[in-house]
């Protein structure tokens, strides 16, 4: 892998990139930043680790936007990929993506109370990793709890909690609020995990990064991605109206809630912290799921470390 070959300063003409990052796409459109793209883009509405990886494998996609887990599993399974951009939340502990929902009457107040309980677990997804990390943080082993394998799609988790099929399940987005609103009366509660669960990445397969033209285009895209992130931070009203209400079909109320839940997202020009946390996650998952741990450097392309922050600085 030629991850040391310097990035080209300009994107060669004729370069095409297939990008699976629908949220940024919308932000670029609304903000007008999309006009600055100097190469041709094919947008794909693909998100989530398994799907993005499948599309990578099929050579149908060049770059995707996910959390921390997918790049790790891809490398364990013969699909070399690297993260090329990283952003986090402004106050990550106060603004986590997930909270643990507790079934009515389960009597759980802290992570330590997880012992002996049934916990919804979706291996291979961020929620699954979070459960393992929460157990680790509470000093529990996998065998101290009952992991109930459930896909986290849609409202499966809140429904499973409400019907007391599980005691604990990580909830995200509107489901956090909706779960309490609907079942709080019955005794449903939430537990904060106090862990970092906020990283967001762009990642691309090695063979795309090895193509100098595409790598240059990726660099340009990373810059725009950073500026789009900034733009969303600064224009929450427009964002709610255009994205959550206009495109996703949510109510204004839900949109506002989600924006508040996310808080501000910041693009970092220094990956050392995130690499450290990633390495811990890799080691934990390897130990719990029976994989060989590997060096975190395998899943970062350091050429892009400063790309995002540089683009931000330049635009201001």
């Amino acid at each position: 892998a030629q991850t040391n070959a310097p990035l080209l300063p300009k994107v060669p003409p004729g370069t095409v990139l297939t990008i699976g990052d629908p949220v940024t796409q919308k932000a670029l459109e609304v903000s007008g930043l999309i006009k600055e793209l100097s190469f041709e883009v094919k947008w794909a509405n693909i998100s989530g680790g398994p799907q993005t990886s499948e599309a990578f494998r099929a050579k149908a996609l060049d770059v995707g936007s996910v959390a921390e887990i997918p790049s790790i599993f891809a490398n364990w399974n013969n699909l070399p990929v690297r993260n090329i951009a990283y952003r986090e939340r402004r106050d990550p502990i106060a603004n986590p993506i997930y909270r643990f929902g507790v079934a009515p009457g389960a009597g759980i107040k802290t992570l330590a109370d997880f012992r002996g309980k049934r916990i919804a677990f979706s291996p291979g997804q961020a929620q699954g990793a979070l459960v393992l990390r929460a157990l680790h943080a509470a000093g529990l082993k996998k065998s101290d709890v009952t992991l109930v394998e459930l896909p986290s799609t849609g409202d499966v988790y809140p429904k499973a909690l409400a019907s007391k099929q599980v005691d604990v399940a990580p909830l995200g987005g509107v489901y956090i609020r909706r779960y309490i609103a609907q079942y709080g009366g019955d005794g449903a509660t939430l537990v904060e995990h106090g862990l970092r669960d906020d990283p967001g990445h762009l990642y691309a397969p090695q063979w795309v990064l090895d193509d100098p033209a595409k790598a240059a285009a990726l660099a340009e895209y990373v810059g725009l991605w950073a500026r789009a992130t900034e733009w969303v931070n600064k224009n929450p009203e427009i964002w709610i109206k255009e994205y959550y209400v206009g495109q996703q079909g949510l109510s204004q109320d839900d949109g506002e809630y989600l924006v508040k839940l996310t808080g501000e997202q910041v693009v970092s020009g220094d990956w050392s912290e995130v690499k450290k946390r990633h390495q811990e996650t890799i080691n934990l998952l390897a130990a719990e799921l029976g994989y060989k741990p590997f060096d975190v450097e395998k899943i970062f392309d350091n050429r892009f470390e400063k790309t995002a922050s540089a683009a931000l600085a330049k635009s201001q």
Partner: protein, 293 residues
């Protein structure tokens, strides 16, 4: 010469012979009373097939109104009707429907043609069967969900993949039903065709296809619902509109009323499609005299 058998033991266990009388006074109207017990299902109840669904809707309405159904579990019908209104007002339902319908009907048409051709080929030639039948059974044995990664590999993530997936799904019932019906055609009619020195074309269009039509139409009933149902799977992948996409999105955000709107649309599409095929069945199979009529 005849030694008449004696079946008195048999007879004694049957109802004793008695007279039954009936009179039909009115002239020129269908005679309905009769002396013989009727074993078939009898005449069709008008709108009979709509009774079951109507009852379910009634149950839903009553259950929600009387508070038997927890609205957190199943939204009340009026909530769903409201959501319907909202989605239509916003134009989302129509847009999604048009996108989905285009995909579904395109996939259906392609699958229909290919499935029928495969069935006739495999049905009339042992070599065709050897080459076609196994792969079709293999396709059938693999869950679509598990096939998606491969389909993405081969057909990408664009419209082509979506239509192909639907067509592949549709091919299965069309092929299997048509092939089965075709192989089930009474050999007496094949003998007849042989003595009439029919061309292969005439044989296919006069004997084989019309003879296999009842089977084909049953396959079509499966195909028309399958093409809608497949949307849920294919529109998870790189779709920005469509009914499946709409449901998926709503599931992500927990919009139960929108999910139910989607399901209700599915049900209506399914019932209407199936109903249309049944109507077609009654028309083109009017030559049949069966238990049904």
């Amino acid at each position: 010469m005849a030694t008449i058998w004696d079946a008195d033991e048999v007879k004694s266990s049957r109802p004793s012979s008695r007279e039954s009388a009936h009179t039909v006074p009115a002239v020129a109207r269908p005679r309905t009373s009769r002396s013989r017990r009727r074993l078939g299902p009898g005449p069709a109840i008008p709108f009979g097939l709509q009774i079951g669904p109507a009852l379910l809707v009634l149950l839903w309405v009553a259950g929600s109104a009387l508070g038997w159904i927890d609205p957190r579990i199943l939204s009340a019908p009026w909530t769903v009707v409201e959501a319907f209104g909202r989605l239509i007002e916003q134009g989302r339902l129509q847009d999604n429907f048009v996108t989905s319908a285009t995909r579904a009907l395109l996939g259906l048409s392609i699958g229909l043609v290919i499935g029928t051709i495969l069935a006739v080929t495999a049905g009339l030639s042992r070599i065709g069967e050897a080459l076609i039948d196994g792969p079709v059974q293999i396709k059938r044995a693999i869950p679509t969900l598990a096939l998606i990664p491969l389909l993405i590999l081969w057909f990408g993530i664009g419209e082509g993949m979506k239509v192909t997936t639907i067509a592949l799904a549709v091919i299965i019932p069309i092929y299997i039903h048509t092939h089965n019906a075709l192989r089930g055609i009474d050999s007496r009619y094949v003998e007849l065709a042989e003595t009439l020195r029919m061309s292969q074309k005439d044989f296919i269009f006069q004997v084989v296809l019309p003879g296999a039509l009842p089977g084909f139409l049953l396959g079509l009933r499966f195909a028309v619902t399958l093409c809608w149902v497949s949307l849920v799977v294919v529109e998870q992948i790189n779709a920005t509109s469509g009914l499946g996409y709409m449901i998926d999105l709503a599931r992500n955000y927990g919009q139960t009323d929108v999910i139910l709107v989607g399901l209700v649309v599915y049900v209506m599409l399914g019932l209407v499609s199936d109903g249309l095929v049944r109507l077609l069945e009654r028309r083109v199979l009017s030559w049949r005299r069966t238990l049904a009529n």
